[in-house]
């Protein structure tokens, strides 16, 4: 089986790999350092590799995230921060923690390619390199 890579593409205004989701998909308890992102049936593309996401040397095919559950918890650091970058102004309260993920994603058979499904191992097997949650305001809402 070959490589797979999933993303929703880049919008006309260069918004990068970002898509609208139902508001109820996100639940945040900032005081406890906890948050949950839970979405189902998210349409996106299997671009096979990250470089191919930009080159399209191999034509991306439709895919779906059947279920994604991403949980944050365990506060390791808290920060009140105000940026000093005049070109990207933001400020807020941020909590570094760790995260776990469970995901099922499917690439249906298309264009002569076999279909593919990935089912992740249990959330506890996740290796969390960096995670944080927070409340911020940027751009027009800066400094707030």
């Amino acid at each position: 089986m070959s490589a797979h890579s999933y993303d929703p593409g880049i919008s006309a205004n260069k918004l990068f790999w970002t898509i609208p989701i139902p508001e109820e998909s996100v639940d945040v308890h900032l005081g406890a350092g906890e948050a949950l992102l839970h979405v189902t049936n998210i349409s996106l593309s299997d671009v096979f590799t990250v470089p191919n996401s930009f080159s399209h040397a191999k034509t991306p095919v439709p895919a779906v995230i059947n279920s994604l559950r991403l949980e944050w918890g365990g506060i390791t650091k808290t920060t009140h921060f105000t940026s000093t970058d005049p070109n990207d102004q933001f400020a807020g309260y941020f909590l570094e923690n760790s995260a776990t993920i469970e995901v099922t994603v499917t690439t249906p058979a298309a264009n002569g390619l076999d279909g593919f499904r990935f089912v992740s191992d249990p959330a506890a097997t996740t290796i969390s390199h960096f995670a944080q949650i927070g409340h911020e305001h940027n751009g027009t809402f800066f400094p707030g």
């Binding site: 089986m1 890579s5 930009f54 005049p86 390199h129 940027n138």
Partner: protein
């Protein structure tokens, strides 16, 4: 982005797909943050103070490292850079194999000013 482990990297943009946003009064489409990394408006994952970390190959950002993908935004964010393992299945042959993936995923939930200049409420995921 959810990609096979080891495949991460910022490259030049050639042709890219477009996102279909649901219609709302105003555009409903948020503006991206101004900062550009390679092909997109984003910072790699890392502390907001911009300090050097392994998760950000572009180095330090003394002015700060905004975790949000959208600008003119006031709300909650979440960000996670993870490695995960699991089982891949060929849906034609039924053959299975162990797979590992690397991902940088985020959410933004709150109010934002859309590209039409109107205040909106919503949630977004960076996948």
């Amino acid at each position: 982005m959810l990609g096979t482990a080891g495949a991460a990297g910022a490259l030049l943009v050639a042709g890219v797909p477009k996102i279909a946003f649901g219609a709302k009064p105003g555009s409903g489409i948020p503006n991206p943050i101004p900062h550009i990394t390679g092909p997109g408006h984003f910072f790699f994952p890392g502390p907001v103070d911009g300090s050097i970390v392994p998760s950000d190959p572009t180095g330090a950002h003394p002015g700060g490292r905004d975790p949000s993908m959208i600008y003119d935004f006031n709300g909650f964010i979440g960000q996670a850079e993870l490695n995960l393992s699991g089982t891949g299945t060929d849906l034609n042959s039924g053959a299975t194999a162990p797979y590992t993936f690397h991902t940088d995923m985020r959410f933004m939930k709150g109010v934002f000013v859309d590209t039409a200049g109107r205040n909106q409420r919503g949630a977004f995921a960076f996948i």
